[in-house]
Symmetry: C4
Subunit: 284 residues, 4 copies
Amino acid sequence: MVKTNSKNNWRTKLHDIIYEADTPSGKLFDVILFIAIIASIILVMLESIKSFDEKYHDFLNISEWVITILFSIEYIARIITVKKPWRYVFSFYGIVDLLSTIPKYISLLFGGIHALAALRALRLLRIFRILKLARYLGASNLLMSAIRSSRAKISVFLFAVLILCIIFGTLMYLIEGEESGFSSIPVSVYWCIVTLTTVGFGDIAPVTPLGQFIAALIMILGYGIIAVPTGIVSAEYTAQGKKINPGPDPKVALNSKSCENCLAENHHDKADYCYNCGERLYGS
Amino acid sequence: MVKTNSKNNWRTKLHDIIYEADTPSGKLFDVILFIAIIASIILVMLESIKSFDEKYHDFLNISEWVITILFSIEYIARIITVKKPWRYVFSFYGIVDLLSTIPKYISLLFGGIHALAALRALRLLRIFRILKLARYLGASNLLMSAIRSSRAKISVFLFAVLILCIIFGTLMYLIEGEESGFSSIPVSVYWCIVTLTTVGFGDIAPVTPLGQFIAALIMILGYGIIAVPTGIVSAEYTAQGKKINPGPDPKVALNSKSCENCLAENHHDKADYCYNCGERLYGS
Amino acid sequence: MVKTNSKNNWRTKLHDIIYEADTPSGKLFDVILFIAIIASIILVMLESIKSFDEKYHDFLNISEWVITILFSIEYIARIITVKKPWRYVFSFYGIVDLLSTIPKYISLLFGGIHALAALRALRLLRIFRILKLARYLGASNLLMSAIRSSRAKISVFLFAVLILCIIFGTLMYLIEGEESGFSSIPVSVYWCIVTLTTVGFGDIAPVTPLGQFIAALIMILGYGIIAVPTGIVSAEYTAQGKKINPGPDPKVALNSKSCENCLAENHHDKADYCYNCGERLYGS
Amino acid sequence: MVKTNSKNNWRTKLHDIIYEADTPSGKLFDVILFIAIIASIILVMLESIKSFDEKYHDFLNISEWVITILFSIEYIARIITVKKPWRYVFSFYGIVDLLSTIPKYISLLFGGIHALAALRALRLLRIFRILKLARYLGASNLLMSAIRSSRAKISVFLFAVLILCIIFGTLMYLIEGEESGFSSIPVSVYWCIVTLTTVGFGDIAPVTPLGQFIAALIMILGYGIIAVPTGIVSAEYTAQGKKINPGPDPKVALNSKSCENCLAENHHDKADYCYNCGERLYGS
């Protein structure tokens, strides 16, 4: 595909850098982004430690501004290089990119608002976008499809667990009462979830013999039924492995291009056109 | 099958609405029931929070009456539309329906009795009845049969765990004694279950070196043997999948009809007569 | 096999009642024994609850004497009916039977000794002997052989876990020190086992940032490697199932006879002679 | 291969004793080393218990010297008998051997430094070297290869878990705030790891309803996704078993020789030359 327009030419190059991961410059961009995100998360964490924030407030503030400006530039670059900017702006990652960048600007106007500052932690979600790289490790693909196909079954299981917790929680509320810390049914249900999932904080614990007996039942139940989701994933994982492995090379080779038009990913290695919108893919 | 009696005709229709899930009106009924149950459970929970109950007592009371009357009507409708009402009344769900509806009426006579009010949480169990819908997700069927076939083995396992807990509990009672909180053998066994199932509340914890050593043994044991139920369910689940998948279409298509006479469910898709009592099924 | 001696005749009958589980009288004997053991364990538990013991001391004492005498008679009957009594006396169950019976007699001479009284809890172990009945449920057999064949691997795994706990425990002792409750390396190792097995009592918890970081590592490790024993048992269980299921009827039918001479069990259904010592089996 | 030099002759013999495990003297050496390591670890532990250290200080000190000198001799012997000593000195085990031996000598010069003394616990790592013996149990080989091949997938999983913990931790920090113990984001993330891995210390626990609701979500998530690593290892383990078992004797027989030149292990049973550097192996 020939692009004669020079303006489109640098946009195409920029698009390749930002959205592709196979080219050297694309890889470099992803690595820099990865480091910036990690640095940003560490900054958010350090800021939340009071003693540290008091000592190094200026350093933290300046670093945060540097990173915020970097992310702002990246955000704008993403909008410019995509053919349909609104699609990106209102996509999941578009919203995450915006939400994690604006808190610092808002703090200029209204002063540092605690809750807003923490929004920056959302940047972590972007790591998943970068991790399309991880696909090349061959590791997460099979994993993902096993999780995806067992999701419905595990949801049914967790739903049943929740109902059990509500019933047992109500029972414990009646048996133990408020003086043992089971102050209301929701708290009691919370305790029941803590116990059934074998977390067991111990902030609330039954003291009556009957309460301890029911608690023991809940624990043994939780200990026994953890086998259910595990069994599901095991079986699905084995099944997925069989689906993919038997043939000579049934795994479809994927490239890391993303469609300039609709942002779709996971194109076949030799794809010339987007499978989703038919747009011709860059570089093909 | 021709029903000429007009009275029987509306009863048949009502029966279809209440007991079937395939017709539009049957689905609507189930959805409304589902919402009513969830609303009812939330009411029970909110009532148990003292500060909330004091503020919004009247609102909670009125809402509860509305829902109670709705459930009462449903209960009566179920009795009317079934051919053999007593069978329904003394069935598991019949008793649950009654028990979860009457507390409010009793509170009229004797004032609000705490324990009775909580009976309303039993309504949650009805969700399982509605969830025959879930069967159509195809998810829970295989899951259920895997759990069913591994139930006996897991019971044997949990029984062995219980015996271990009693023996180790007695041992810890002797080693730690009352000053560490191991005040009697039952309490000590309770602690042992808390520990072996890896819940670990920490309300009771060993303080003597020997006690901590035995505790460490119990934990490692509990950590190691959780593999057993998991292994069982995994294997059963894989086995169940093989039983059902190999042939061209061995899964029997089921419909959601329930027999008007004996309440049996899970009829074949093309069944004209109840497999359980021979009664002709509605609509066939 | 013809037994002409009349004395031998009643001994043979008594042997059948005590050691066999297929005959009606043998089953009845096992059921009575089962109930007596459960009753006995409940007595031991109730005795350990001080408030209960003070109120009902006489009742508990008399009940305990009744059960002790019953078990004594059973112990003597077992010795009489076996051909080589010493073999039984020094077998595992012979020692358990004796140890769980004598504490009450010793209490006559020296007064109630706490630790000895608890020996009676050992009676629970006898339930496993009765549970040869469980074999007929078909459930525990496959389970047992899966556990047996994965025992070596799980031991290697638990040994590696223990070494990890000692190394991490020493590390935490250095990092946290005594003021956080990590008062010595053994205590620190104990804490590490509590954490890695995901029990988490909370009686000791890290307070320094570095300590909490290492603790987080240990937890994630413990959460990740629990997959190992589970995977082993799963695979073994599947493998065991395949070994037993494929052929037309490879499972050997067993009878419940036990050899009068050497106490060996698990004889083939049609066995006339003991596979272990060659003694002719009763009733064949 | 003929070695005429007499000096090389005793070095060859010593090398066989230290590095081989098949000869009687090699086995004896390993057993003695094993006992010395265990004794050494127990000494380190006992020393850390203050009350014990005060009573038996001299005994502990002398024992420690005896063991330190033994390990020093072994260290020197290892250097002498290997052809390329520097390779050993800078190998993983070479560093472990040195680090775990010198603390006692340093204590002569500078007095007992706490942290250094604990370095001796590193000796435990040497048990893994001795455990090449364990290979003959046939147990750990399959286990190791299953763990190795699922390592990448479990890492991806644990990485995703960590990201989840950071996001949920930040959320909990905002919801609960400092008065509940969620004093900073790192502490909050630590709590989130404690909860998601179902450890649940209870030193920090949510107190607000919303915090408890999010906590319940985290727990259920942690309870559900533990199935993922388990499923991976299960499937890998099954797959490994299939790879190794099908053929008539596909398992390669290994001997316990280690190359005198490059320290490589796991040579084929009949190997005459090192597969790694081509050096002729001792005894072939």
